[in-house]
Amino acid sequence: MRPLLVLCLGNPDRGDDGFGPAVAEVLDGTLPPDVTLMARSGDMLTMLEDWAGFDALICVDAAGGGDRPGRIHRIDLAEEDLPRDMAFLSSHAFGLGEAIALARTLDLAPADIVVYAVEGQRFDGGSEMTPPVAAAIGPVAERITAEVARLQEAANHA
């Protein structure tokens, strides 16, 4: 089996930014035992340490800049770059986009990276998650379960 990491990003105390951790809660205990699940908030540079040694990475994060809260985007970085108008939020100097760009420049990025981003609407400290974003938690968790199976299957046939 290839080492596979599911990394759920966000701050549960910042409204829709809590999407990643909420997905991690649903996935906890449901993924195959050789898959690592992490929930992270804060400095995205530490992600470079988190994904060291993993061959494939699935990232879950909320993003600003869209016009349809709750819309789910699947971005396979083997096929396309992260959209420039999609703002992955971080309260620190480096967000997901920067961390991935830096890791790729330094050859520290996993071979496969798939990002699941949900468009968020409200990111204020202490606010609740908005209903359309909350409604996307279950569907994204299901899609990640399927994504994990696909990536493992691809590795078996490689």
Partner: protein
Amino acid sequence: MTTKTIKVDYLARVEGEGALDLHIEGGIVKTANLRIFEPPRFYEAFLQGRSHIELPDIVARICGICPVAYQMSSVQAVENAFGVKVEGQLRALRRLLYCGEWIESHALHVVMLHAPDFLGYPDAIRMAEKHGDVVRKGLALKKTGNAILRLLGGREIHPVNVRPGGFYKVPTRAELAPLAEELKQAFDLAVDLVRWVATFDFPDLERDYEFVAMRHPDEYAITEGRLVSNRDIDIDIADYETEFEERHVAHSTALHALVKRRGAYLVGPMARYALNYDRLPVSIRGLAKEAGLGPVCSNPFRSIVVRALETAYACEEALRLIADYEQPESAAVPLEPRAGTGFGCSEAPRGICWHRYDFEEDGTIRTARIVPPTSQNQPSIEEDLAAVAAPIASEPDDVIRHLCEQSIRNYDPCISCSAHFLKLSVHRA
């Protein structure tokens, strides 16, 4: 008369949300304002009524980069109020934890946020295309600092293992051993970093700062000492309010701190270095000399060299503390709450972090006052901006903007936590 306003609406590569306004009239800089518009966070207000036990965990939330500074100053204030002194290996462990914070914070700033200024890159990602090795080394250093925070603090961001009187849990010697191995490599990386940043081209600027830092009889002060300056200040930390004051200014949600009798002062690596050069080990003083530093550095652009030097010092000091470590019998000394006032001060990566608390008889916080380093440096930053912009006031806006932004980043300002994009608007009369 030509009037020119240079605005940087959102400062990049700093921790927090701030902006820059520069007004130039007839080639003369009239005002230079660092605008801090991040909303006030009211920590001092919502600490009222909370228990002293909760204090270090609440104030750790003030900053994700330097939470240890807030924890250390706050527990010191609790212990000061309750008449307890934490010494021996518990004190050494606190210093070790603090070294971890210096390493991770300094490495982040020197390599990822500040070095691109000197080499002409917009950010560390572009810089990594040409200087990948240095960026890898910077990340490895940061990782080592984080490893110390994780082991002693329970986690690297907002640690949870510090309590008034000591810690909740202390490590065994065996648990510290792998850290020592990592730190030996980190020290070599930090030495390389000092040598690398020393090769940068530094703008000529010598400033007549009043340096303010802590000073200790035996060590390069981090967790404890008197407050001293290169003018005539030499006071107990409890007397901070007799010498210093904070003022509201219209353009900033952060208070400006000043020496009452004189005005702006500077805290942070350059101040520590100038006031405690004789407390550095011979090895670090030798490295400083090799990097072109004398016992005092007054060029703010060279602060990057001092910061790298302190990173090397923190690695060496951490190794010394680990080598001398014996696991204490108890993770904390007992505390008996009592009514009173307590003071705490420690050297955050960016400078002194001063706290004062009044406690009820049961240890409930009655009032709190926290003076972070960046608010102390704001007047000094603005004086630097005026000094930097004056000789180049007739240059194109982007030249002025670049040097002014770089000047702000000389301070590693921790406005709090953010920084994403930058907009410049120029208004010409």
